[in-house]
């Protein structure tokens, strides 16, 4: 909740802070109203920058001939569109039922107690993802998109500790 209100505060100041970058403008150049372009352009920006800076909201609103509120409203609706830079290493935790039945909740607690939800230096982040049907590997974690599973809790703990060591220091 705190995170959401922060985003909203930021969005409030967007009109003032928006400074267009040429490459960003190129990415959004062909956006047109009524052409199902919004999700595609958000994906495009996220692929290029790793996240969608709220600065782009007024630019997109102008392109789509709508208000920044409408664009931000749509953008914030989708859980996979990030408005902050992603961590360098993302540990994705599948929230699906097959994983849940096989102890994913235990894995989440254990990994979170070692790494926290994310480190302030953006080195590591634990993220909830939805089931994509790779349930033969349940319970699973994904390390930068690469599946690890089926995992025991002990294996998940060892993995989390390795990642913490690799980062240099503790939490």
């Amino acid at each position: 909740m705190a995170e959401k209100s922060l985003q909203i505060r930021k969005a409030h100041h967007l009109n003032e802070s928006a400074k267009a970058q040429p490459e960003l403008e190129a990415l959004i150049a062909d956006v047109k109203p009524g052409n199902t372009d919004l999700l595609a352009v958000l994906h495009r920006i996220q692929e290029a920058y790793g996240y969608v800076s709220p600065q782009v909201v007024p630019l997109l609103a102008a392109k789509l001939r709508t208000t920044p509120a409408m664009v931000f409203g749509a953008m914030s609706f989708y859980s996979e569109i990030r408005t902050e830079p992603p961590p360098r290493t993302t540990i994705s935790w599948c929230s699906g039922p097959a994983c849940r039945l096989k102890g994913s909740e235990n894995i989440r607690r254990a990994v979170e107690s070692i790494l926290g939800e994310s480190t302030p230096d953006l080195a590591l982040g634990l993220r909830l993802v939805q089931c994509d049907g790779t349930c033969a590997q349940a319970p699973l974690l994904r390390l930068n998109g690469r599946t690890r599973g089926p995992l025991t809790v002990a294996e998940a703990i060892r993995l989390a500790r390795e990642l913490r060591e690799a980062r240099g220091n503790g939490r």
């Binding site: 789509l64 749509a74 859980s79 039945l101 254990a110 089931c131």
Partner: protein, 624 residues
């Protein structure tokens, strides 16, 4: 028809090259499932070995046979006609496989699963005779694993786009009649007759009209649509095209969820190829029909799988379901007439047009014709996608998937995603068709079947499903976002030992109230909880009154204790992420204040560490 006849000429050649390749052909199944199990590494290792050994071999990419548990899978076909399916080919096993399987007509017996095609292979069962395949009728999945999804020629060579060519020779209302005669209904969950839906769109006056394919398969535990898109993408395009012709629609959207990037890639490729061959675009096969398709990628929203939420998302807005009426057939995308069908629904259409309704209705039951794909996951030996005729008892699918884990018994089945409900194991013989599921207060849904054994806690799973529904609620209706939130609070309190006798009535009242929500997300969200109260009253009661979790899952009702000695205790102490296991005077004890109940210690020292009830009957003196 005449224009279509030119297409298969080249395609037949492509298909011949699959069945009797001029040189050995290794086909690696690359799908989301197999990639999770390292199929990309297997493919890379194969290409490396083939290049290093300078072998005269083709290495190609195919789709999914539906045997998720056996991935990475690959097929080796030889000029002799010998075709062998191999399972669990990890990258490290590639050199040995090549040594043995590419030595003349040799077979690598350790990894061989079955013989496919017409040529029997000594010592190997045929694919069709496998326990997990023999109960299936593979109509929709006929191409899955068999063809290269990136080859339109192989699709055409297997009879693809024949259904379209057939449809184009018929009047458009004749096409709708054929679909209605086949009894096809929507496979996405609502089970609405497809022909009726198409009649609504055909009757709409405004132009343009849109055909939408709902590929937002968001139900966790469902992956049948993914299998189709990744393995046979053209079947969906062909279904949409036939629908477009029948209803007078000129444009289509395929809305694919964020979690399925490979589906989006394969559908894009298929659309491009279809345009190149003139089966998409202006004047399709010289018929005057114009139709094009665009892929839209979602971005992580479950309610975008609800058709009006999906439409809002396509319109660049928040993916919030709309209030009906108007229905999409009157005012859908951009307020124009729109039809939304599920992936699997569209994939059925070419089969109906190609073989006719009488053929289609030879499978299934009195009320439900044809076949249905199901994905089985959870507490099951073999996670898989199966296609069976409607009416097959659920137990047969569970048996075909190798049954439950060793020594466990079936407790419940969760069909149709988080909103589909939970069914007690006593109904395991339930025929797979919508009506018997409805009788149990559940939904057959889109094809996900999650199997629970006796280690599962129903209260915990209900908490999970309600949490999911709460998290994914769009926020429009208070009955939904407030109702799911209250349910989560109550279930969490019960799971933490604070259950009250008034909770049952409260949950029922919430369930009744939530049914007033605008869309299926809110109306169906209480299903699992109401099912729990009806089908698992003892387990619920035990949590509320006895403050005991019989499966020892709910964290507030259990604690971990060291009850014995075990040489592995030092390891258990070392693995503890919160250092809760401490040595005191040569004995290990668990600091209950630190323990997060993650179970890691018990995995390592199962003899010594027990999960015990926090309070409840075990502590009482048993009555003789």
């Amino acid at each position: 028809m005449s224009v279509y006849s030119e297409l298969p000429a080249k395609a037949n050649e492509a298909w011949q090259a699959v069945e009797t390749p001029p040189r050995p052909r290794i086909a690696v199944g690359i799908t989301t499932c197999s990639l999770a199990q390292g199929a990309d590494e297997t493919l890379a290792a194969l290409r490396r070995e083939v290049a290093q050994r300078k072998l005269d071999v083709d290495v190609v990419v195919t789709g999914c046979w539906g045997l998720c548990y056996a991935e990475p899978m690959l097929e080796i076909a030889k000029p002799s006609g010998q075709r062998v399916l191999y399972q669990r080919v990890a990258a490290g096993r590639v050199p040995k496989l090549i040594d043995e399987a590419l030595d003349g007509d040799g077979v690598s017996n350790d990894l061989a699963l079955a013989a496919i095609g017409l040529t029997p292979v000594e010592g190997l069962p045929s694919f069709e005779s496998l326990h997990i395949v023999s109960l299936q009728t593979r109509r929709l999945m006929a191409n899955c694993g068999v063809i290269e999804p990136d080859s339109i020629d192989q699709y055409i060579g297997r009879g693809g786009y024949e259904g379209l060519a057939q449809a184009l020779t018929m009047p458009s209302d004749g096409v709708i009649k054929e679909v209605s005669d086949a009894g096809l209904w929507g496979r996405g969950g609502a089970a609405f007759p497809t022909g009726r839906k198409w009649e609504f769109l055909a009757g709409a006056k405004a132009r343009p009209k849109y055909m939408i394919c709902n590929a937002d398969e968001g139900d966790p535990g469902s992956f049948v649509n993914r299998t189709l898109m990744e393995s046979d993408p053209h079947s969906i395009i062909e279904g949409m095209l036939i629908g477009g012709y029948a209803c007078g629609a000129s444009y289509g959207y395929i809305y694919i969820r964020e979690e399925y990037p490979l589906c989006a890639e394969r559908m894009e490729t298929a659309i491009r190829q279809a345009r190149e061959r003139g089966v998409l675009g202006p004047d399709i096969l010289g018929s005057g029909l114009s139709f094009d398709i665009e892929v839209v990628r979602g971005a992580g929203s479950y309610v975008c799988g609800e058709e009006t939420g999906l439409i809002a998302s396509i319109e660049d807005r928040r993916g919030m379901p709309k209030i009906r009426p108007p229905f999409p057939a009157q005012a859908g995308v951009f307020a124009k007439p729109t039809n939304v069908n599920n992936v699997e629904t569209y994939a059925n259409v070419p089969l109906i047009m190609r073989h006719g309704a009488p053929w289609y209705t030879t499978m299934g039951t009195e009320k439900n014709k044809g076949t249905k794909m199901f994905s089985l996951s959870g507490h099951i030996q073999r996670v898989a996608v199966l296609e069976v005729p409607f009416g097959m008892p659920l137990r047969r699918l569970i048996d075909a998937c190798g049954g439950l884990p060793e020594g466990r018994t079936l407790k419940a089945i969760q069909p149709g995603g988080p909103l589909g409900g939970i069914i007690n194991a006593e109904h395991v013989e339930i025929p797979l068709e919508p009506e018997p599921f409805r009788e149990q207060g559940a939904l057959l849904g889109s094809g996900g079947l999650v199997i629970f054994d006796d280690t599962a806690c129903i209260v915990d799973m209900c908490l999970y499903f309600e949490w999911f529904a709460e998290d994914e609620s769009c926020g429009r209706c208070t009955t939904c976002h407030g109702g799911t939130q209250r349910m989560v609070e109550i279930l969490r309190r019960i799971a933490n030992g604070g259950g009250r006798s008034s909770d049952k009535e409260m949950l029922r009242l919430l369930g009744d109230t939530m049914r007033w929500s605008n869309c299926a997300h809110g109306t169906a969200a209480p299903t699992v909880v109401l099912n729990m109260l009806a089908a698992f009253p003892e387990e619920y009661q035990e949590h509320v009154e006895g403050k005991r979790c019989p499966a020892k899952v709910c964290r507030g009702l259990v604690r971990y204790e060291i009850t014995d000695s075990d040489p592995n205790l030092p390891d258990a102490a070392a693995i503890c992420p919160t250092a809760a296991i401490v040595e005191e005077g040569g004995r290990y004890v668990i600091d209950q204040g630190l323990c997060i109940k993650c179970d890691a210690c018990r995995e390592l020292a199962p003899e010594a560490i027990q999960v015990v009830d926090v309070v409840g009957r075990e502590a009482e003196t048993p009555v003789a």
